[in-house]
Symmetry: C2
């Protein structure tokens, strides 16, 4: 965590200095804004936290509810989400309060007495050793609290506008704020009042029954299956020994997906309510809690639960739908998108694979920096088309995965030929549910793979998988990727060739070029901004840290920034082993010993892999992703 950069900070360093709009943010919802986020779920709140890092962007987030979420909803947190929390600065706190999934156990009918269940398999959780981040269970309400804190403590000081609901929108062709939005105050002094406000962009984070989706005429494609599940968060006493272990339970009486929750006592149970008649007309949703508990006890036989408190419960039918497109631009239309859909507004599925909140957050992470870039003039609006192009295929993969998993979970015992196959499927697919399988295709913000061989372990279009390195200035072992905060900046990692610091090398030549007037930094950094405002450029040497004097690194890696012009010491790293770690990022990620440049997007996805000598290609890549600020300056003058 870096602070004191603009002078000594006495208090909580997680509270950043207010800037831009954040200096004097209107308390009430204004009539005009750059971005209107509709809905304060995981995608919307992440977006707010991300846009708070672009304090010159005016962004508001409206929510129909009067205040924070209190109960229920999602609780599964994949490792990729914890990685994302790390970038937003609260991973260690949420890890400390969450339930950590170490194992998933499987239960099925006892072959000798099929009326009873027995444990058929214990498996390490699929996240076992898949990354440095754990697989957690914690209530969505807490995730939203942490993002709300990040949004409020960011320079933009964004706080949700509770008690305001979306009514409808009209897109205009012209004007600075072309999206006209009708909203209604549902609480507070103006309760009942309907208003028209205008925004440059609107993001629908308003859930499965999204009003924004409807307003732009997008279709939610798919159906509801004829299978219903009850879900309950309960405090119980029980003789079931796996009450605190995640389990899939299949018995003659049905199936349970059992999810222990944070705090040591509570668990969530998804209970199979069986097939729903075609003419049911959602009557299954009226199933009383007593019936859900009765089913749970029938399935758990010979074990039972004595329910002491029901914290929350619900009944739902499994739906699998993906919206036809995640923005308002129809195929063949020439304009740039103005309205976006995220999360349940564009993909709905069962809760049981624990994916929904996670994929929704990645929607927000994908869109947030792009809106920030376009609204601050760093990128052309064409960038925004990549949102739907990148996220819609991920949603489709999610639906496919969930359909398969739901079907496996809902099988009757007699349909199960191998009691281990649920466990086998669960482990074989680990990369997907962990959130690490997403791979974005070639675009203006993902370069071609011509030089992928120089960095096999950093596949283009996949998220940058961190490795421990040694920070040369202080000898601390740190995760290289954890320095990449969700601050909207691009990371450029210059992995050095073999020469040590202080000697002429491919790295020093590259650094000299990168600091020159023709290079991306000079071209794409706004006039007057710090040299690291857009590009966070780091060197990683092959040697052990004690073979390098940090002050011997090229000046590019010791930039002087901020009002005091202070040296940033945290740009120079060593890959060699030290007393504290044996990791070697060159070996672990298959990096060329001749050096390689790896470019990582603000949302942590690998955007380019190039030799140190390929300066033209690097310049070209950024010229495609970012505007030329010198040209912008010339235009303006």
């Amino acid at each position: 965590m870096q602070f004191h950069h603009h002078g000594y900070v006495s208090g909580e360093p997680r509270v950043q200095d207010a800037a831009g709009i954040g200096l004097d943010r209107p308390a009430g919802l204004p009539d005009e804004m750059d971005v209107l986020i509709v809905g304060s779920g995981p995608a919307g709140m992440l977006l707010a936290a991300q846009l708070s890092q672009f304090p010159d962007v005016s962004a508001r987030i409206i929510e129909r509810r009067e205040g924070r979420l209190v109960l229920g909803q999602a609780d599964g947190i994949q490792p990729r989400s914890v990685e994302t929390f790390q970038a937003f600065g609260f991973a260690e706190r949420i890890v400390a309060e969450a339930y950590n999934i170490a194992y998933m156990n499987f239960w099925g009918p006892d072959p000798e007495n099929p009326a009873n269940i027995v444990r058929t398999a214990r498996t390490e959780d699929y996240a076992f050793k898949i990354s440095e981040f754990p697989h957690l269970i914690v209530n969505q309400a807490r995730v939203l609290d942490y993002f709300a804190e990040a949004a409020a403590h960011g320079p933009g000081r964004i706080v949700p506008d509770y008690g305001i609901e979306f009514v409808g929108l009209t897109l205009h062709d012209q004007g600075a704020y072309p999206v006209e939005v009708r909203v209604r105050h549902t609480a507070g002094e103006r309760a009942g009042e309907e208003r028209t406000i205008r925004a440059k962009y609107v993001v629908g984070c308003d859930g499965a029954r999204s009003g924004v989706r409807e307003a732009i005429g997008r279709k939610h494609v798919g159906g509801i299956s004829a299978h219903a599940w009850g879900v309950m968060d309960v405090l119980v006493n029980t003789d079931f020994p796996d009450w605190r272990t995640k389990c899939a339970i299949t018995s003659q009486a049905g199936a349970i997906l059992h999810i222990p929750r944070e705090g040591g006592y509570l668990s969530r149970m998804y209970i199979d309510l069986g097939a729903v008649a075609e003419d049911d007309d959602h009557r299954v949703r009226q199933t009383p809690i007593e019936e859900i508990i009765r089913r749970a006890n029938a399935i758990l036989h010979p074990y039972s639960i004595d329910v002491k408190q029901v914290a929350w419960h619900s009944v739902y039918e499994v739906g699998h739908r993906v919206t036809d497109k995640f923005d308002d631009v129809d195929p063949g239309e020439a304009h740039d998108p103005r309205v976006f859909l995220t999360g349940d507004a564009c993909h709905t599925h069962s809760a049981k694979a624990g994916q929904g909140m996670n994929v929704s957050m990645q929607d927000g992470f994908n869109l947030g920096w792009k809106l920030g870039h376009v609204l601050t003039g760093l990128s052309d609006p064409a960038l925004l088309a990549t949102y739907s192009a990148e996220r819609q295929p991920v949603a489709q993969q999610l639906i496919d995965f969930d359909k398969e998993w739901s079907a496996l979970m809902a099988r009757k015992p007699e349909e199960i030929t191998d009691p281990q196959d649920l466990a086998t499927y669960y482990l074989a697919t680990a990369e997907f549910p962990s959130g690490f399988m997403t791979q974005y295709g070639r675009s203006a913000v993902v370069a071609d793979a011509a030089h992928q061989a120089l960095a096999e372990g950093f596949p283009l279009g996949k998220r940058f998988k961190s490795v421990e390195v040694v920070r040369v200035c202080d000898g601390n072992v740190v995760h290289l990727g954890h320095h990449a905060k969700a601050d909207g900046r691009w990371r450029v990692y210059a992995f050095a060739d073999a020469a040590p610091a202080g000697e002429q090398s491919a790295l020093t030549s590259w650094a000299e070029w990168m600091a020159s007037d023709d290079a991306p930094i000079a071209r794409h950094t706004p006039a007057g901004a710090d040299i690291d405002a857009v590009f966070d450029v780091k060197a990683i040497y092959q040697q052990p840290y004690d073979a390098i004097e940090v002050t011997q690194a090229p000046n590019l890696f010791l930039p002087k920034t901020g009002p005091l012009g202070l040296t940033d010491w945290e740009k120079v790293y060593a890959a060699g082993p030290s007393a504290w770690s044996t990791a070697d990022i060159f070996a672990e990620r298959g990096l060329s010993r001749d050096g390689v440049v790896v470019v990582v997007r603000p949302d942590q996805y690998v955007a380019a892999v190039l030799p140190l000598t390929a300066t033209d290609e690097l310049a070209d890549f950024f010229a495609g992703a970012l505007r030329d600020q010198r040209a912008a300056m010339a235009d303006a003058s």
Copy 2:
């Protein structure tokens, strides 16, 4: 972290339910209270946080300043202090913002050109692998913030009474509140007003010039040496390559102890200002900052610093003093103590070994639970005599260590025969400065060492050194010691004999006895309180976790508590290896395979080591430490 125990909690789980005094705590300082803490430094704030866990105790903490500490003072955080933060629930947060000391480097005159300094040694920090906790640097102000939060979020809801200073006290022989204290309001509506209040106990945490110490006539024994140091927290640019590494620098121009600070930019420098003339009369304290910077640059030659901002600076002369006793009871007096001294009020020394704040906090940790026990009737007031008896020898060790370290640091180059000897001393003494060498002697709360051989790795009177174990209920690898929160409870670890759970064994016999009416739980737990209100009893089996069904453990280890009577699942552990860890606490701590009971005090010190069969000895030990609540009930009826 355990919560939802009394029903579902939606918000921040670190905020505990208010109870007792905390339900309706007076906003202003009342006229009578159980404990008056004078001073809101590290010892006082820890005490407040600890007493907030005893919500039936009315405790107030007064502080002359108008608000929180903003600048300066201590910054070294030893591993034992981080261990303590873990018990108070904020270790992961302070670690995330602190500077972590990986290495300490040593610089001395270049033999070839003695006007220049060169690096003479790099050493892993003394805390290298000494425990699972790091050695940190972070401003005392932040430590106090975190303890203040813990105090405010505990059931007692304790917040400091700022703007009130201690004037004097008078001890009376009789009455429910025998300590009469005069205080003066220094801020707020009542500024200038002097009042008399009364307390059962007063704790002087009021620093080196303690008014409480003076009021009880204790003597601060020792002297000020004739050596002065300047200290500054500065933001600089520099060509000195170890700006971000802790260093001891000895040059012809003097010595510097260099301490990088949290946030990546700031460092603290302790700069040798040389010998002070006998008739100086503290004039050295007027040394201007420009002179301190000039000296620093002279010592650093050929490197230099360009100071951009001085966040704080001071000049001090090294003093080494210990108070003759840490309470108000003179030798030979029969009464129990009523007034206590902690921290700088009873031990002062140089800042350079980074010990002061740490030892002060352990003073508070030692005293807090004892006050809580006595004031809630768990223990007799005689317990309080162990505070001075235990902490005074620690203070003396600290002074001895610091004198040696300060003398080594202040040597002139020509006095140094081996340039490595500073480094050698630094590493050889690791256990002391890490905070782990403290060993309390035999007393009512430390049993004799007759059975120490059954648990060689848990020396009696030293702090319980944690090892990873597997929590059986969910297969998570956790540190056994980290479950021991600073909640004022005793820990009783029953390390099992070889039989697995579910079979008759020495453990099951012990558990049966421990649950009986003659055992310590029944004897010392107040009527109506939960079975785990005073004793947190855990079982640790030798087998791997998957060889144990948690529900097969004796009921003692599955207690039902709280208003809902919910089972606590986190009392049963396994020592055997699992996929997630190879640790084996039996092997690592030399525990008898026939089983052993290890009793740990509320401040985490090992109090007793006994065979599972030594139930009489265990009962006797607790009979000496705690009151018989049944007798207390009979007395009351």
